[in-house]
């Protein structure tokens, strides 16, 4: 563990623009690798060529109908979860908060599964609204626990994880009771396998809208991070900004779960990585998280495809394998402070 002073010093170093450029470059490389790699591998130059000049060959169909939608979906889901993570950590002033650790992903999943069973004909697009309802309900419960001020940071995270475990158990029970396991189990692990353009079109408007508002309002979110007294003196404004942030969290996390299942740890880790790289300026953190989230999730997806090749590891398992130790590391740093 580096000295505490060292960590603080490093905060002011990186230039955000340079960082953004490097991250985007890395993202492009990972996406290209993802498009080239697979059971039917393509040379990188061929993949690149087909991206810009699609033709009627099977390879072109592979790139455009299978691998590109998958990459797009991973990017959008990654961005949604990462930005939702930044907002929820700011809003609750809890560095252990994320759509997963506060049970919001699981809430969305539960309502989606219930609606899929109640309405078997529900389209993929139709699952977005149930997801919002579930995310909002759990979000409200966690918010109530959070503002009551009765729990410290770690107990609150533990409560969120308990909610997550209970809701996940309920989902399992419902699936078993309805013999609906096969189709939904894979989705439950959190996966972007079998991504189609239709799913991309479902999440895209929410990413653009939610992410766009988060960017525009980015500077104002800083008010939430201020201490109680300063926050009170800014009064009304802080409350309105808080409400906006909460809505954005529900929209971003809910739509991500609707298309990809509850993928964990992205929303928790990305804000920490970004803050370490660039400091605490809200707007910068949001922008860089919106790039780092996609980078992390596309990389995890690629890893999941490579690790047990030709079998596919759902990306949610990969993020858990990476994320759980990283979560312990974050806890460790909390203790050190």
């Amino acid at each position: 563990m580096t000295a505490k002073g060292g960590a603080a010093m490093r905060h002011e170093t990186g230039s955000p623009v340079l960082l953004a450029f490097c991250l985007l470059l890395a993202l492009a490389i990972v996406i290209l690798a993802g498009i080239s790699f697979g059971v039917s591998g393509l040379p990188v130059d061929r993949a690149l060529h087909l991206l810009f000049a699609p033709d009627s060959s099977p390879d072109s169909a592979l790139v455009w109908d299978v691998r590109l939608p998958r990459a797009m979906l991973a990017m959008l889901v990654g961005a949604n979860l990462a930005v939702a993570g930044v907002l929820i950590q700011t809003l609750t002033r809890n560095s252990l908060a994320s759509p997963q650790t506060f049970g919001i992903n699981a809430g969305a999943s539960l309502v989606i599964v219930v609606s899929l069973i109640a309405m078997p004909g529900l389209s993929a697009g139709g699952t977005v609204w149930p997801a919002f309802i579930g995310a909002a309900a759990v979000g409200l419960a966690m918010w109530a626990l959070s503002v009551s001020g009765a729990m410290n940071e770690m107990k609150l995270a533990l409560a969120g994880i308990s909610i997550q475990l209970v809701l996940a158990a309920l989902v399992q029970a419902i699936l078993i009771a309805n013999n609906a396991g096969q189709d939904i189990v894979y989705w439950l692990a959190g996966s972007i396998n079998g991504a189609q353009w239709s799913k991309v079109w479902i999440i895209l408007p929410f990413t653009l809208l939610g992410g766009g508002i988060a960017l525009v309002a980015g500077r104002h979110f800083g008010v939430l991070a201020l201490d109680e007294t300063t926050g009170v003196s800014l009064g009304q404004n802080a409350r309105r900004v808080g409400g906006l942030a909460a809505t954005l969290i529900v929209v971003l996390a809910g739509s991500a779960v609707a298309v990809s299942g509850p993928i964990g740890f992205i929303g928790l880790l990305v804000p920490h990585i970004v803050r370490r790289l660039t400091g605490n300026d809200q707007l910068t953190v949001i922008v860089l998280s919106a790039i780092t989230g996609p980078l992390l999730l596309t990389a995890a997806d690629l890893l999941g495809r490579v690790a047990a090749f030709p079998a596919e590891t759902p990306v949610g398992i990969v993020t858990a394998l990476i994320g759980a130790p990283a979560f312990v590391a974050i806890l460790w740093r909390q203790r050190a402070k």
């Binding site: 158990a169 858990a320 312990v328 806890l331």
Partner: protein, 335 residues
């Protein structure tokens, strides 16, 4: 409770034990009679004696009922010892992920050894997994300085890691996926007389250590200085309690998989009912563990007929809210 008026705490504990034992008996009788074929109590007794329903009763229902009672009891005691050893009300073997590591160990052992070795390979895997999980938790927990919620959170994260590892191996070796699903959720389904015998032998072997640990448990609440002045080595005492807890937990995971929340719930319920003294608390939490697991199994069998919900899922649905309630209740106190 009528015993409130009685002067002696021991009498109260005894009556609580009696009431819980009667409840267990009722659940057990229900568990024996209810199923695809409903039997009357008389038919069950006849089956036990070797009558015409002997096959259903002795092959299917009795092992299941007995295993749920034994495994529940050992998880209850394991939770009591671990919470006492770490002086942490949230540190039961299931919350801090030790059951998940035990399940992972069992799964890997089953995977990498020939099927003929399963009888001893899987139990060894369970023990190695549980011990490894406990060691990692304690090693990391030590450097955290013993914050109650911090240790529990580290344990939860380590449990998630074990679960993800198991899911990853399931992807690698899909043919074993069914087996590992049971380890993941925790279920009494498919228990046989062999399981009953194995678990009984294991618990019998643990019993002397459990008794010694139970006698020493009260001392665990004292500070290290007090212990030393009493002539007890704090490290030895806490280490011993943890070892016994891990062994009990390993035995139950070998029988029923990564059953969650029982080890957390039982000691708390026991403390509420009979107070914190070990000689009252240990038997009561064992009985409550047994009651909870057999009830969870019964509920799981009834709630979604003709399907069965694994008892582990039912236990999570009951135990999770209880953990949150505990967190809220404990919130006012210092960390």
């Amino acid at each position: 409770m009528t015993s409130v008026a009685l002067p002696s705490k021991s009498l109260r504990a005894a009556s609580v034990c009696l009431v819980v034992a009667i409840l267990i008996l009722v659940i057990a009788v229900l568990g024996m009679t209810i199923g695809a074929v409903t039997l009357s109590v008389g038919q069950v007794l006849d089956g036990i004696a070797g009558g015409k329903n002997a096959f259903i009763v002795m092959q299917y229902r009795a092992p299941r009922v007995i295993v749920s009672i034994l495994a529940g009891a050992s998880l209850g005691i394991a939770g009591t010892f671990l919470q006492g050893a770490l002086r942490n009300p949230l540190a039961s073997p299931d919350v801090v992920g030790i059951t998940k590591w035990a399940g992972l160990g069992a799964f890997l052992a089953g995977l990498f050894t020939p099927p003929a070795w399963a009888a001893w390979a899987i139990p060894s895997g369970v023990i190695v997994g549980a011990v490894a999980g406990a060691c990692v938790l304690l090693a990391i927990g030590r450097s955290f300085g013993g914050g109650i919620a911090a240790l529990a959170l580290v344990g939860v994260a380590l449990g998630m890691l074990a679960q993800a590892l198991m899911q990853y191996v399931m992807v690698l070796v899909p043919t074993r996926a069914d087996q590992s699903m049971v380890w993941l959720a925790g279920s009494v389904y498919g228990s046989t007389m062999t399981d009953v015998v194995a678990l009984s032998l294991w618990l019998g072997a643990c019993l002397p250590f459990v008794l010694i640990a139970a006698i020493r448990l009260d001392a665990g609440g004292f500070g290290d200085d007090t212990l030393t002045s009493l002539g007890i080595s704090p490290g030895l005492l806490r280490g011993g309690l943890i070892v016994v807890s891990v062994l009990l937990c390993a035995g139950s995971v070998a029988a029923v998989g990564s059953m969650g929340f029982l080890g957390l719930l039982s000691p708390h319920a026991a403390r509420l009912l009979v107070g914190p003294r070990a000689r009252h608390m240990v038997p009561v939490s064992a009985l409550i563990g047994a009651l909870t697991l057999s009830a969870a199994d019964l509920i799981g069998r009834l709630v979604a007929l003709p399907n069965e919900i694994p008892a582990g899922i039912v236990a999570a649905v009951i135990g999770g809210p209880y953990l949150i309630f505990l967190l809220i209740k404990e919130a006012g106190r210092h960390d």
